[in-house]
């Protein structure tokens, strides 16, 4: 009897260890495989140079900037919308319209990103091209718009969760004082739920940054530093996807592991930040 218990314990423990090892192993592999490049002392060049393999320059700065640009812009678009939607779901209409919207949002989380990309290519890009009559329409704007749709469900679900934790008596008290909905949002809900909102933002940023397909399909993938939102740009994720087809031994190829490492570290920092803010609230 005791024997069986111990075996089970060991099995469960080793499964957990294996999962943790997998996490670390991914980082390990990224570092290990970018070592050959790092050792040549090119790291500074890689982080700041432009990307032009023909001239022996393999800088990924443009991709880092592109990633940050596109993710931030999509966050900028989707944040107010998400805030409004979660307010709608949780406070204004917690009855059937809110429930319906919530179900819709949950359904949206299940939609494949490649579908967003596909629709982006054939619907959004032509529209952007026509409206602004500039370039091909494959631009930061198009990618950000599509990404905004992709990440809003993450934010909405997270926000409404943290709104739901705001004690109802606070709301009733404000209501009794004759506050408008807007005043409720700004004076009662946001001050009480800001850590949740912040965590949701961080997670959504990570999701936007980690997405490959939308950026790859509709941001145009140019390697020049973008100067306006109608320019095309390439993200780190898309860069990895495009270079993978190259020759195994080239430096070009090895730099994508640096991209992978940078992405890994950026998202992990996001997670740490989110956890930290949650812990602070608990305290």
């Amino acid at each position: 009897m005791l024997f069986k218990e111990n075996i089970a314990r060991i099995v469960f423990l080793s499964a957990s260890i294996l999962s943790a090892v997998a996490t670390l192993l991914i980082l390990g592999f990224m570092i290990l495989l970018s070592l050959p490049v790092l050792e040549t002392g090119m790291i500074w060049g890689i982080l700041t140079d432009p990307w032009s393999p023909d001239h022996g320059r393999f800088g990924i700065l443009a991709m880092i900037v592109g990633t940050v640009y596109i993710s931030s812009f999509s966050l900028l678009i989707s944040f107010p919308i998400s805030l409004g939607c979660s307010f709608f779901i949780q406070i204004i209409h917690p009855d059937s319209p809110g429930r319906f919207l919530k179900l819709l949002v949950q359904l949206m989380t299940a939609i494949p990103t490649v579908i967003y990309g596909f629709v982006g290519v054939f619907l959004l890009v032509p529209i952007v091209r026509k409206v602004f009559s500039y370039g091909s329409g494959m631009s930061i704007l198009s990618a950000s718009l599509m990404l905004a749709i992709l990440i809003s469900p993450t934010m909405i679900l997270f926000f409404s969760q943290s709104f739901a934790r705001v004690p109802k008596r606070f709301l009733d008290a404000t209501e009794a004082l004759g506050a408008t909905s807007f005043q409720k949002l700004f004076y009662v809900i946001l001050p009480n739920a800001w850590t949740g909102v912040f965590t949701g933002l961080v997670l959504a940023f990570g999701r936007a940054m980690g997405d490959t397909l939308i950026a790859l399909m509709i941001s145009g993938n140019s390697v020049v530093l973008p100067s306006s939102i109608l320019d095309s740009a390439r993200t780190l994720t898309a860069h990895i996807a495009m270079i993978i087809a190259a020759d195994f031994d080239s430096i070009e190829f090895k730099t994508i592991f640096i991209c992978g490492g940078v992405l890994y570290i950026m998202t992990s920092c996001g997670i740490l930040l989110a956890r930290f803010s949650v812990k602070k609230r608990v305290r």
């Binding site: 009897m1 218990e5 089970a8 469960f12 499964a15 957990s16 294996l18 999962s19 943790a20 997998a22 996490t23 670390l24 991914i26 592999f29 990224m30 495989l33 919308i81 805030l83 409004g84 939607c85 307010f87 204004i92 319209p97 919207l101 179900l103 949002v105 949950q106 359904l107 299940a110 939609i111 494949p112 990103t113 490649v114 579908i115 990309g117 596909f118 290519v121 054939f122 619907l123 809003s152 909405i156 997670l203 980690g210 997405d211 490959t212 399909m217 994720t237 990895i240 996807a241 993978i244 195994f248 592991f257 992978g260 992405l263 890994y264 998202t267 992990s268 997670i271 740490l272 956890r275």
Partner: protein, 283 residues
């Protein structure tokens, strides 16, 4: 007012995406889309390879799902149980940090990891190893592992104290309690988590792009061969289509994938509702 606008905006965006696909794609959906000119029975019994239809892509996606769930499920369940029932607070916070990081890693980085493992194996074990179905499934398993761990852990932890104490009060050991009471009671949440994980397998493109998916391979003959998959097919069509009939197939494939995702979502939702109803007056 403001939140009404947000809600409407989001809903319209969603409707546009789905509506666009339905309007453009519904005419493309017929048996020919899936089986081309091969006879149905021949295709099912693998007598003849289907070329030009979606059949191999659908089979590829299916085998991908089966394999990666097969890898991730036992590992994820065991780790989830360990985290919920056995781990000390310290160990728990370490492991759950690892799980969170793993969940936050962009899928393309997971794909890159799978790819680098392939290179590694290719170099050190056998030059016969190339990107293939098995590698893709393993990488995808890493991608969905954190979801399964988290849902299992949360499902077990959120059981009320009385339910957890029942079996021990009758003389059950820890393992018996887990097997006979905790897992069955948490089953609804775990199952709907698994269904959502299946959805992630079905939709992910970035991982398989780096680990062995190709545009035409036919039905995979073994786990060591290349394969086709629906989401990659959609991506491929969007970037490389040459005529309108190919594009039509792309719309059809996108619509099919959308239906699959929506179906899985509905299934998960249904399981949840059904079992919630059952347990409502149980505890």
């Amino acid at each position: 007012m403001f939140s009404w606008c947000c809600a409407l905006l989001l809903a319209t965006g969603f409707m546009f995406i789905v509506g666009f696909l339905v309007v453009k794609g519904y005419r493309g959906i017929n048996l020919e889309l899936i089986f081309a000119d091969t006879r149905l029975l021949d295709a099912f019994f693998l007598k003849r390879q289907v070329f030009g239809g979606l059949f191999p892509a659908i089979i590829g996606t299916l085998s991908l799902i089966l394999l990666s769930i097969g890898f991730a499920l036992p590992l994820g369940l065991a780790s989830g149980i360990f985290l919920a029932e056995y781990a000390s607070p310290r160990l728990k916070s370490f492991f759950s940090l690892m799980v969170d990081i793993l969940a936050g890693i962009p899928s393309i980085v997971v794909g890159l990891f799978g790819f680098s493992i392939t290179i590694f194996l290719h170099h050190f074990f056998s030059s016969q190893i190339f990107p293939c179905l098995l590698i893709s499934a393993l990488s995808l398993a890493f991608l969905i592992l954190p979801y399964i761990i988290k849902t299992t852990q949360v499902a077990i932890e959120s059981l009320p104290l009385q339910v957890r104490l029942t079996a021990p009060s009758l003389g059950a050991t820890k393992l018996e309690n887990i097997i006979f009471v905790l897992l069955p009671s948490a089953l609804s949440d775990i199952v709907s988590g698994i269904v959502l994980a299946i959805g992630r397998c079905a939709e992910d493109t970035a991982v398989i792009m780096l680990t062995g998916v190709v545009a035409t391979a036919g039905v995979p003959r073994s786990v060591f061969s290349n394969f086709e998959a629906l989401p990659f097919y959609i991506y491929y069509i969007a970037s490389e289509y040459s005529n309108s009939s190919e594009l039509m197939k792309g719309y059809g494939a996108a619509l099919i994938l959308l239906l699959i995702s929506a179906g899985l979502f509905a299934l998960a939702h249904w399981i949840k509702l059904k079992i919630e109803q059952k347990t409502r007056f149980g505890y």
